[in-house]
């Protein structure tokens, strides 16, 4: 049986369309942080508003999945749904800031940052478990070389080089992912 986490977006969408509930759970899991990040970091919605938009986006995605012509375009499709729902949420709130200004503001650096963060996250998932672990420990958990050395039982003097090599692989992974994405017409 194919691990759902390894399916491409297109295959995942295909499975969702057959009514596969596990595939749907995987889709939500795969993009929940992305949608939430657009709400909170891109549009700076409150946690409460972000939660409402989050629910609404995935409800709409579920109901309208048949209208998505190209399953590989799932991510930009979800991003568009989320942006529209965020703007609706802002328009219906008491904020005095014009929606057009918010939309223009969000269109600049924040969305690029979110896209980049998710591209990195996806690329990290393509690395070996050992690389994922050591990068997570150093960059996300702020562990020292000494702590990493003790917990993974590897010589402290090799940690920095190991991390550097894993970052090199991450770079290759990112470059590999960017090339087909640019050619897909998204």
């Amino acid at each position: 049986m194919t691990a759902l986490s390894t399916l491409s977006d297109a295959d995942l969408v295909r499975r969702c369309r057959t009514g596969d509930s596990e595939a749907w759970s995987e889709l939500v899991e795969r993009y929940s942080r992305y949608v939430y990040a657009i709400c909170v970091r891109g549009f700076r919605l409150s946690d409460e508003d972000a939660e409402d938009v989050f629910q609404d986006v995935f409800t709409r995605a579920f109901l309208r999945l048949e209208t998505l012509r190209d399953g590989s375009a799932l991510k930009p499709w979800l991003a568009q749904l989320t942006r529209h729902r965020c703007l609706d949420a802002i328009a219906s709130s008491s904020r005095v800031e014009p929606v057009e200004e918010v939309a223009a503001d969000v269109g600049s650096g924040d969305m690029e940052e979110i896209e980049e963060a998710f591209a990195v996250r996806e690329a990290v998932a393509g690395l070996s478990d050992a690389c994922q672990d050591i990068l997570d420990r150093f960059f996300a958990q702020d562990q020292s070389y000494r702590t990493i050395s003790h917990e993974l039982d590897i010589p402290a003097g090799t940690i920095a080089s190991r991390i550097a090599r894993c970052l090199g692989k991450l770079r290759s992974e990112l470059e590999g992912r960017n090339e087909p994405a640019e050619g897909s017409g998204e």
Partner: protein, 155 residues
Amino acid sequence: MVARCSRDSWNESGGVAAQAEAIRDRAVVLAQDDGRVWEEALSALHDARGDESADARRDFRLEQTLQDAAAVPLEIAELGADAAALAALAGERGDGTYRADASAAAALAAGGARAAAHLVQVNLAVRPGDTRLVRARASEQAASEAADRLLTPIR
């Protein structure tokens, strides 16, 4: 900087530069934290000195404040060891033109680790044999050894 300047000759340079940036960012946060916990400890000590009466709750709070004040320099000592190790790596494998800069960075990091370990030691909450002091001294030692790898040949 040494790693960034070594891109043409060292394929790990980008990864080393990224780690150096992460360490620098952590150092900025820890320096601010250190100032904050130091002020809190000073204030707590001042309050305790002004009140000689037995007060278990106050003493507990004072102990906690001093514990916090020891935790931050311990992290700084470990970060200093990491910075020195990274500088040593850059000095040994990076472009030789910048070896002196890497040596200077390693020496500064070792100095920072040593100062931080001293702050852990003098903290009133840390008794001899305390595991935090052992860790701080181990970091000081590791940082010193890393710096010596670059500095010894030119002594």
